[in-house]
Symmetry: D2
Subunit: 95 residues, 4 copies
């Protein structure tokens, strides 16, 4: 099976879906908060930054799965330089 | 009216709601993407990082409104040290 | 005196010089560490990231002085929109 | 040879030393800039943030060497879980 190492394993996928739904719920909470005309700026900043933290944690989870897959398939794949490039490419999205 | 300077002005609030709804739609797109068992890690990382970029832009928008409010009311409020503390506090949430 | 609000006050300048010299000393320490051919990757990453933390703290110090100056002179200067633009411009360098 | 995979290869070490010396020169330039009492806040922020960018690029260089070493030795080392942990640990210092 070509390029299997670039796919997300089922366990990580389930976990990521669960956490993304939770982040979406958090965003909906911020939207509710914003229906109050008296909402405080700093509360909005705080909540949005909490969602960003959750998304960063999700990205770390995907990255970890990605790295594991690359490391465990490195011997069969052989081309270390390409594997390193793929990992560095993925790291560009680490915030 | 006490502490008016800490509230979000109506125009910014409308704009922030609009953009948060768009970020939520983007997140829903990522969730759809994840229904495909063959989804690529790097595509997930890329899309989540795009949502984070959108949230950062929203935070900048709130921050800008917050700063404007503090700057325009500074003369009436007088207490520069407290105003600076409030702004530095808000900056903690700038990612 | 035009544009006084854009200058660094003497106290902050002294403090920033002191801290920058310390960051420079830290960098020299990393260079010494690198003379050992057996140096560990993670130790290099850790030390460089500590220097980055010190530089971020210095930038926060400058930013705080910058904000204070803008807030205290806002009443005399009057042009809130330009003051906000200047502060947002400075925030671009906040890492 | 135990733990060879955790050391910095000679070529990367030379490159990192060269770039760190350049970052140190840049910091010395900021210190010179600060001898002028009329120095602008935003110029200080801009220069320090440029040094931070240089340090981030150096950290990316070390990280790349670190990842390459882990990927190429993964087959001999075998313990994928530990290799992934080591890489995730190194990523903590990526700013």
């Amino acid at each position: 099976m070509p390029d299997r190492h670039l796919h997300l394993d089922p366990e990580t996928r389930t976990e990521v879906v669960r956490r993304l739904k939770s982040a979406k719920g958090h965003l909906e909470g911020v939207l509710n908060m914003l229906e109050d005309p008296g909402v405080y700026c700093v509360d909005v900043l705080k909540q949005i930054s909490a969602v960003q933290g959750a998304l960063s944690a999700i990205n770390d989870r995907v990255l970890r799965a990605h790295i594991r897959d690359h490391v465990t398939t490195a011997a069969q794949r052989g081309d270390a330089e390409r594997i390193v490039e793929e990992l560095m490419e993925a790291l560009k999205y680490k915030l």
